[in-house]
Chain length 257, copies 2
């Protein structure tokens, strides 16, 4: 390595700055490891310091408080999940809506199973006494946005007749869905948004139930069984949200009403 080749990254010039950034990363990594083995509620500044061989007060050079640390972890978790889903979805043919939808669903499930405590941190019981600042909102929306885009694209491009004009929805439901109007094109019906939200809650409800043990005496645990059950859920969600493929000689596979 000659000196001309590897000029230090221009953003972080001094040794101090580089060291600082690296230790900050190490603190977050240690926090993530601790989270993975112990769970969120027992996550402590002291434990992280211990794991890194620092004194507990030193951590306060990098993190304002325990809540600040939690916020950073939450944002990181949302982004990790979002990135996992996006990566998997991008690999699918743009026209294969069911495939794209399934990619997102299985990415969510697999990320959750691989990172159960990080999943619990963002989709489980809120940590008592902590309330998420606004900076968590955008990362939190990545998966939902992805799902919404697929549903809308499928509705628009696949000429699913029921999807756009479709059945109306009671007026108070229209009001309840108003916050989502910003995300969807104007010509998408309330009914389709309602279906989308239900699929979204179904997806995370299912993953949470599996992860939090609610399936223990309900769904078999034999090899491949949970995957098969989940795949069947995905298939039906796709139908319910209007993504379901047209079978050429059949009526559209969406719930009629």
């Amino acid at each position: 390595m000659s000196e001309t080749e590897n000029t230090p990254a221009p953003v972080l010039r001094t040794a101090r700055e580089r060291a600082r950034a690296e230790i900050h990363r190490e603190i977050l990594a240690a926090a993530r490891r601790h989270l993975a083995t112990e769970g969120a509620s027992s996550l402590s500044v002291r434990a992280i310091a211990r794991e890194l061989g620092m004194v507990s007060s030193a951590v306060y050079r990098y993190v304002a408080s325990r809540d600040d640390l939690l916020t950073q972890l939450i944002v990181e978790a949302y982004n990790a999940l979002g990135a996992a889903a996006e990566t998997r979805e991008e690999a699918i043919d743009r026209c294969d809506f069911v495939g794209r939808f399934a990619a997102v669903c299985t990415a969510v499930r697999e990320w959750a199973l691989a990172n159960p405590h990080e999943y619990a941190l963002i989709y489980g019981t809120p940590v008592p006494g902590y309330d998420a600042p606004t900076e968590t909102v955008a990362p939190a929306g990545r998966v939902s946005l992805l799902l919404a885009r697929i549903v809308v694209e499928a509705a628009l491009e696949q000429r699913v007749p029921a999807a756009i004009g479709e059945d109306a929805v009671p007026l108070p439901v229209h009001a309840a869905l108003q916050p989502l109007r910003a995300v969807f094109p104007a010509d998408v019906s309330d009914a389709l948004i309602q279906r989308g939200v239900m699929v979204w809650t179904g997806l995370f409800g299912t993953v949470s139930f599996e992860l939090f043990g609610q399936f223990r005496t309900v769904i078999g645990e034999g090899p491949g069984e949970r995957e098969a059950f989940f795949a069947e859920c995905v298939r039906r969600w796709a139908l319910q949200s209007g993504i379901g493929v047209f079978a050429p000689d059949r009526s559209p596979e969406v719930e009629p009403v």
Copy 2:
């Protein structure tokens, strides 16, 4: 009160026994109160003792350990939720399947909103280091059993054509659903069971999302909006699970596949 009228309850004869039972009840009540204000993870033997004006060690006359206390609270919560759902469901005309189903759903949501921490205790992130003993399994099944019964009765008595014979399900899904075979009559199809499970996860997924703040930027919070959204969910779950009513001049309101 003459002495002959109020003979003490024969089950608990001595003053000691009665006092013991009452204080045991008070300990659980205090624990429930503490849970309601502070959340599960900060529930402590000492806090309960403080609230009752006892010394912390005295609580150990009634409760073997913190885990034991947690178990008792979990069982109590499942039973309270189950009882609430059953009571509301029993009040509905036996033939009004949609009404009975809606009664269960709204009972679950309202109980959860009224007892958020107890709900979180049983349907939220599992308390780390605690795993539920088998005595929690039966109470945990009360709501699901109620739902299953309604779905099956509706399928059998309402001649919903798709519900019994219906579409088949891949073999591994059949295997995954095996544990539920004990609950359902033999002539109920795998597909109907699958639908039932999905509605069940949808219900609790929705309630959890609302309670855990996932709806904050998604579903409006104006008066009646969340209720309207939930009612719309209930309506569609009823259709999806085959409970939905036949409209006389229309095809059955179930997803065809």
